[in-house]
Amino acid sequence: MEKTLRNIKNHVMTGISFMIPVVVAGGILQAIGVAICGTGISQMEGETLIWYVWKLGNLGMSLVVPVICAAIAYSIADRPAIAPGLILGFVCTYINAGFIGGILAAFFVGYFILFLKKNLKVPKTMQGLMPVLILPLLTTLVCGFLFFTVLGRPIAALIAWIVSALTNMQRGSRFLLGAILGALCGVDFGGPMSKTASTFANGLLVDGVAGPEAVKLVCCMIPSVGLAVSALLARKKYTRVERDSIKSAFVMGICMITEGCIPLAMNDPLRVIGASVIATTITGGVTYVLGIENYVTAGGWFIIPLSNKPLLMAAMVLMGGVIMGVILAVWKKPVNEDGGEAGLDIEGAADIDIEIEHL
């Protein structure tokens, strides 16, 4: 059971490792376009060369779900899974099953291919056709068709339900909505929850409600700032490895790529996610109450000046970062780094439970 869970985590992490460069390249190019030409950039084809920069990013971002889907499927079932994974990822985007759909589709594709490899016996002469023809074709047809017609629907419906539930909540207090949105953004660092909150905020933006978008932007920028603050306040509570990760997470965070925080959260989920959620919940509520608005969907620090209240928005990011940083700095346990180059404690090192396998 534990091994299965670890395998699933491994597969998802493989997917994320392939996805991050796509999000980085696409997200930053898109943000540069918006930062220079404003939100109308999408309509500016032929007017400015910056449009090409923006469009490069825009096309890149449309690849995010296909890439994570293909990479997870590849992690499960190796190369034959890449093609069906990419196609299923596009299906998920098409039917609005998004990120959650993409991850589920990937497991479906991966295990389907493993199943076929094991159970589909073909004559020796046809062996060569398995990886190039039979596996990708059959998998894409079966999984794709099922996802399109049956399996993808509930996922799309689930996402639609979450969106409508959140929208109805808006009648309640503004603080509550901001707090919920903020908590969703702070809980999984660009994962499914954040993407759900983001979809909700982007959806409302289309209707001209730009408050939730600002909440999303602020709360997605908090975790990386918070980690940096806590590392400054309590340097000793992080290993050298972690401090290096925080540096890269902080730089990524400037561009609102929260995924850089994931390795830190994986090492100490309760404290990192706990502090993050507390900070984003409070700050999200306050941001929405203050009526901060933003019409840009992504871009990190660079799009703060495009907000209706830039100074307040910057203050909110800082406030959230400080709240999270202080909580973490106090809450985290000191670490003692072992295995330094000088004087290895060979006798004292604890044994590790390992298992020798023969691949």
Partner: protein, 103 residues
């Protein structure tokens, strides 16, 4: 012991290389030879040659994600751990590998 291995973390920018450095240094200090191939987001570096793999006593995979080219290690005794284990307690890891091989 002659160790060859692969390190790879999810972001592929930091842990991958720290694991490599730690394992190679620790192994050397403990009197073993060790070469770790890094599979970071930049791609494969410090690549293992077929000869090195053939000469190895044990294969150590310190990875959080899928290893590319795992079939190179077919038939070799292989140990798989997370990068976290390898960074936190490399000495214990190598000691445990010695014991496991003796069995």
């Amino acid at each position: 012991m002659n160790i060859v291995g692969v390190s790879a973390c999810s972001a592929g920018i930091a842990h991958t290389y720290i694991v490599q450095e730690k394992l190679e240094k620790t192994a050397k200090a403990m009197g073993h030879s060790c070469k770790i191939e890094t599979q970071g987001s930049i791609g494969v570096e410090n690549q293992l040659t077929p000869e090195e793999i053939a000469a190895a006593d044990i294969v150590l995979l310190a990875v959080d994600i899928k290893v590319s080219g795992a079939d190179r290690f077919k038939g070799k005794p292989t140990v798989k751990v997370s990068t976290e284990v390898a960074t936190k307690n490399p000495v214990g890891l190598i000691k445990s590998m010695e014991k496991a091989l003796e069995k």
